[in-house]
């Protein structure tokens, strides 16, 4: 038995676990973070797998990380820099392309090459999205109110939600309700006529989701990707300088600076429960640590189906956790390149290379890719979200060399016919991706020095997320706000006294946002009667 007692133990050093940890350490509590891997960060991690190259192994771009958190934890002091990127676009099968420009007029002219009407509809589209972002954004850093509760705080939060909704016009209320439930394809049809323009914007509606662009609910996923910001530019995305691991590193440094303790290589086996309350954890190696507060950064399924005894939980709750949708839908390739690959159909100085690049030029193709997923195999014509962080970030590869990150949608967790990802399937999956890029870049394959291929199974093994779902649970309306992860337990508390959740399975959901972690810390600190270090209510 370990002699030290802690005020709180956090299971998992993902960015949310670290966020919770920082706010609690700032409150003067004695906090221990236990991480199963030998490195920190969970899915916000940077590793050097090929000498000279730093990969952002899982998450790869940053937008959602709440500025309040960056500021309150002083993360820039601990080395965090987020650099916005611009550009990106779609390589089309007909030899043309669509490029995304930062400058409004340049962007309009580029859209007008594909559709004059769409180039103007874009203004209406961005205004409408901005309106939805403005509605949802203030809810991120707040607890989701329980509509069945009569507690003053829940009532106040509900009233706040109602007031914000009331600020809409009648037409906008209708628009909002439709928007939260409709498919991204239908949503985009209301603005655009060009296939490639629709395909470019539809990408945000499917990333990380086991739904197709024609599935209801995907319009909200698009919003989830839009509500981030870089320096107040709503919808802008950036790179964490030095890779996404820099976020975790900065958080860990902040945590340790406030007296926190991190132990890596310490996988938690069980949460110890006595008389309905948490007393600590026992590790896979048999070590035990004691604290009356345990906060799990792991997803809700892993937490309550693996590391808490079913015996200790209400049956209804367990069944709801079992039904929580957290399906593997995507994979990831990290590639070290010997130089800048050529893409002859686009001018060399196009800003397309500085941002997110895609090869899917119609929603139809995207949906067909989803059909493969339903059939238990990876998309034969996948939707790729491909970036070259080294176009912007000078720290990730030697000068003149490049690091390429390729997010691949769709890839199922369970392959048909009980086939395994281990073995030839993983290689075949990587080859599918290489082949698609090569269609547009003849010298791409020759440039590859090293690559890391991560299937949903690999992401589950390494980052610990069930089925490798990047959001720790899908962002569909039935799993949002007071229904995330389970009705009645949407406020970071669990059925077991002293056991809390702080991962992306909780409100407001996935992405390297930190909001679940901060919101969880706020609730824990309230329950402990400790000094409140998290802004809000």
């Amino acid at each position: 038995m370990n002699q030290t007692r802690y005020d709180a133990i956090i299971i998992g050093a993902g960015h949310n676990g670290l966020t919770t940890a920082c706010f609690m350490a700032k409150a003067g509590l004695k906090v221990l973070v236990l991480e199963k891997n030998d490195y920190l960060g969970g899915a916000a991690v940077s590793l050097e797998l090929h000498p000279g190259w730093t990969y952002s192994n899982c998450s790869y771009v940053c937008s959602l990380l709440r500025p309040e958190i960056v500021r309150d934890l002083d993360l820039p002091k601990y080395g965090l820099q987020v650099i916005p990127y611009s550009g990106g676009g779609v390589f089309m099968q007909n030899g043309d392309h669509l490029c995304n420009y930062t400058d409004h007029d340049a962007h309009r002219l580029e859209l007008a090459r594909h559709s004059k009407k769409d180039s103007e509809a874009y203004d209406r589209y961005s205004t409408d999205l901005m309106r939805q972002c403005r509605f949802i954004k203030p809810l991120l850093m707040r607890m989701a109110p329980d509509p069945t509760s009569f507690k003053p705080r829940d009532l106040a939060e509900l009233a706040y939600l109602g007031k914000r909704f009331h600020d809409f016009s009648e037409a906008q209320m209708a628009e909002t309700l439709r928007f939260w439930t409709m498919s991204v394809a239908e949503f985009l049809d209301e603005y655009f006529e060009s296939d490639v323009i629709k395909a470019y914007y539809a990408g945000s509606g499917i990333i990380g989701t086991a739904l197709g662009p024609m599935s209801p609910g995907t319009a909200y996923v698009l919003l989830h990707h839009y509500m981030g910001e870089v320096d107040g530019n709503i919808g802008a995305w950036g790179f964490a300088r030095g890779g996404m691991g820099s976020i975790s590193k900065a958080m860990a440094a902040c945590f340790e600076d406030h007296g926190g303790e991190i132990r890596s290589g310490c996988g938690v086996d069980k949460v110890l429960v006595k008389n309905g309350r948490t007393i600590g954890v026992v590790l896979k190696n048999g070590d035990d640590y004691y604290a009356n507060t345990v906060i799990s950064n792991a997803d809700v399924k892993h937490t309550f189906l693996d590391i808490v005894e079913r015996n200790d939980l209400p049956e209804d709750f367990v069944r709801q956790v079992e039904r929580f949708k957290i399906r593997g839908s995507s994979g990831k390739l990290n590639i070290a390149l010997d130089g800048m690959p050529e893409f002859p159909q686009v001018p060399k100085d196009s800003p397309i290379f500085n941002g997110d690049m895609h090869f899917t030029d119609s929603i139809e193709r995207m949906e067909r890719g989803y059909d493969d997923w339903k059939n238990g195999t990876w998309s034969k014509d996948p939707y790729l979200d491909m970036l070259l962080p080294t176009r912007i970030d000078p720290t990730m590869a030697p000068p003149g060399k490049h690091y390429m990150t390729v997010f691949v949608q769709y890839a199922p967790y369970h392959l048909a016919n009980n086939e395994s990802w281990d073995g030839p399937n993983r290689d075949a999956f990587a080859q599918t991706v290489f082949n698609q890029i090569s269609e547009y870049s003849p010298n791409f394959k020759d440039m590859i020095l090293h690559y890391e291929c991560r299937t949903p199974l690999d992401i589950e093994r390494e980052a610990g997320i069930t089925e490798g779902n990047i959001f720790q649970g899908e962002l569909t309306f039935d799993q949002l706000l007071f229904n995330r992860p389970v009705p009645g337990y949407a406020q970071y508390r669990s059925p077991i006294k002293g056991l809390y959740m702080c991962g992306s399975s909780t409100h407001p959901g996935g992405g390297v946002m930190g909001a679940p972690g901060a919101n969880a810390a706020r609730e824990v600190l309230r329950d402990l009667g400790a000094r409140q270090t998290v802004r809000g209510y």
Partner: protein, 410 residues
């Protein structure tokens, strides 16, 4: 002894704005680069145009004293043709298009279904089934959506026509000296084609300065010839190109509103309460409920009958000489009741002018005891001034020479 070296003038003049993706030159660009000594450029709908050429103040006085060239090529121009053209236009705008005869131009606003203004502009009528709509903001998508079910053809002519706003008391004399025969017959809001340089020059007696003046429309290939002919004919009649800043001063004196300054395109506002109805911008005269259906009619009728307009738009004369840019308006120096949308010290009227959006009943039933809070920079010491304001009619500046036909020569 060290001698200071002044750059040669030609070097100064060779400085050019950077034209890249999204920054197009207008057909007059070569002449503008030549004349633009301040090298102060701005963007208008993706085109680079000068903010000023040499001195904003002197350029302003050229408008009121001589003749001025202002490049309006970036203005959006849409051709609407076909058997349903008149029916379409009448549904598109709240005013009655039937009353606009061929050969005439009319100012118009148009709204969405909520009765909120999208933009304003001018309608040129060429024939029974042939119109042109000119506007500052792009309207192609809105026009195309509105045209469903109408037998009309809509064509974006923005890049096919070069245009100059030619304004000031000596403009008529210059056109006459250029040999534009018959231009003296043009009444305000008339338009007519004249032969020029082997092509057709369309002249309309329209403008944005509230003074005598014309707008000249020509194919882009002849743009420089037109510029040169005007400058040559005007050499002895105080002619000068002007930039956007000088024009804006004249525009406010004339009491004209401008999209994105005095109101926002209703489909481009995030907060729905930022849309403005014609009644809220003093444009009641634009709305003709008797002509049949038009987009926004139901909402506007409801607003009119329910007297539910939230704002009113007024012209103000303000004490003192500090323009009330972005200022808040108060009643009895205490209650905040609105804000200034445009302001200028008028060098001609020697008056401090502004246009303001006030919350009703202020400006309608309550017109007295209005104050404007102005922040004044006194050599980096900032003072807050409460200046008394008085509601006055627009246009602020309205000279008879604007209407005289045939016009005077100066």
């Amino acid at each position: 002894m060290t001698k200071s070296i002044s750059p040669r003038k030609s070097e100064l003049l060779s400085a050019k704005p950077r034209i890249n993706a999204g920054r197009k030159p207008t057909p007059f660009h070569p002449r503008q680069v030549e004349k633009c000594e301040t090298n102060d450029w701005t963007l208008w709908a993706g085109y680079s145009v000068p903010n000023s050429y040499h001195s904003v103040e002197l350029e302003y006085f050229s408008i009121r004293n001589g003749a001025t060239l202002y490049d309006i090529s970036p203005m959006c121009k849409y051709r609407i043709k076909g058997p349903d053209a008149e029916r379409f236009m009448n549904r598109f705008v709240p005013r009655d298009v039937k009353k606009i005869k061929p050969g005439r131009v009319a100012y118009a606003i148009w709204c969405n279904d909520e009765g909120h203004i999208l933009d304003d502009g001018t309608i040129f009528r060429f024939g029974p089934d042939d119109f042109r709509l000119c506007s500052q903001e792009r309207q192609y998508a809105w026009l195309m959506d509105s045209a469903l079910g109408f037998n009309v053809e809509i064509l974006d002519e923005t890049d096919d026509i070069a245009a100059l706003q030619f304004q000031g008391p000596t403009t008529f004399a210059i056109l006459e000296a250029m040999g534009i025969k018959g231009v003296e017959t043009l009444k305000p809001f008339d338009h007519k084609n004249f032969p020029f340089a082997g092509t057709e020059l369309m002249v309309s007696r329209t403008g944005f300065t509230g003074d005598l003046g014309y707008e000249l429309w020509i194919e882009p290939g002849k743009a420089l010839e037109l510029w040169d002919a005007l400058m040559a004919a005007g050499a002895d009649r105080t002619i000068s190109p002007i930039g956007s800043l000088a024009l804006d001063m004249a525009r406010i004196e004339a009491g004209f509103i401008q999209p994105t300054v005095d109101f926002l395109h209703a489909e481009h506002v995030v907060r729905h309460t930022r849309g403005r109805s014609p009644f809220e911008l003093g444009l009641d005269w634009q709305v003709d409920f008797g002509k049949g259906h038009f987009t926004g009619r139901r909402a506007l009728l409801k607003e009119k009958e329910g007297n539910s307009s939230r704002y009113c738009f007024v012209g103000l004369e303000i004490e003192g000489n500090k323009p009330a840019h972005n200022a808040l308006v108060y009643h009895k120096q205490k209650k905040e009741i609105g804000h200034i949308t445009s302001a200028v010290w008028s060098p001609t009227m020697k008056n401090n002018l502004a246009m303001a959006l006030l919350q009703r009943p202020f400006g309608v039933d309550i017109q007295e005891d209005l104050w404007v809070e102005i922040y004044v920079d006194k050599e980096l010491k900032w003072d807050r001034v409460m200046a008394k304001a008085k509601i006055v009619d627009r246009p602020f500046f309205n000279p008879p020479r604007k209407r005289l036909t045939p016009p005077a020569r100066f």
